[in-house]
Amino acid sequence: MTTQIGRVRGLGSAHAGAHHWWHQKITAGTNVLLVVWLLASIARLPAYDYTTVRLWLHSMWAAVPMVLLIASVFYHFRLGLQVVIEDYAHKENRFVMMILLNVFTAAAAAIAIVSILKVAFGAAA
């Protein structure tokens, strides 16, 4: 249930369309939190050798925010690259580029998330 003014706000005659802008803003906010967390975590790691980095990602305290970061950042860049494609590509090119963008985002996200989970659920050492 929404009030009439609430229903009208942000909705043109298509009754939709603000979601792209709104989702970009929401993920911008979550990106700030998650990227600051990643930069701080990387900066505070004692070393960057395989054992240290793997042990860090094995912890749920790193794996959970890392999966959230992939979801938030990748959705955000997919929305952003969509705008770039809409600015510079037209007709058939735009159609092909949009499909490639979705495939690229989905493939990259799948590799990243499965990698994180594999380390998180793998043996400790």
Partner: protein, 141 residues
């Protein structure tokens, strides 16, 4: 032949085909760098982040192959590591600062000419300072 009347001229930046018939402003720079840094992180940054995560998951050999591209044998960064590392962290901070500027402007604030210019210029000051602070911290810790 009549002499040319003294007409005002566009403030163009270059002559010939490179002529830019406008004055470059901090807001224009913030705008284009927001897009450039966003595109760079979405392509190069994504590839490196996914490669790094996949290498950690794949094991010591794959991780060594990743590290070898960016570091010397003694563990210190090589030229590729320095360029990619500093460029990516600067891109993160620049995009973050101009992104925060966008969130401020979404509230309807900071559209007055002077405030707008100042805020746009500040995104560059902040991103350079934050990048320097990040690498100084890595260096001295």
């Amino acid at each position: 032949m009549a002499t040319r009347p003294d007409r005002p001229r566009s403030p163009h930046l270059f002559s010939g085909p490179l002529a830019l018939h406008y004055r470059w402003s901090p807001a224009m720079a913030a705008s284009i760098f927001h897009r450039v840094t966003g595109d760079g992180m979405a392509t190069v940054g994504t590839a490196l982040l996914v490669w790094w995560l996949a290498a950690i998951a794949a094991g010591p050999d794959a991780y060594a192959a990743f590290l070898n591209v960016f570091t010397h044998a003694d563990g210190g960064l090589n030229p590729i590591g320095w360029v990619v590392g500093v460029a990516l962290t600067w891109a993160v901070f620049q995009h973050m600062m101009s992104g925060i500027r966008h969130l401020v402007m979404d509230t309807g604030a900071a559209f007055e000419l002077k405030t707008n210019r100042t805020l746009a210029a500040l995104t560059f000051v902040a991103s350079v300072l934050l990048t320097a602070a990040f690498w100084l911290y890595l260096g001295i810790k």
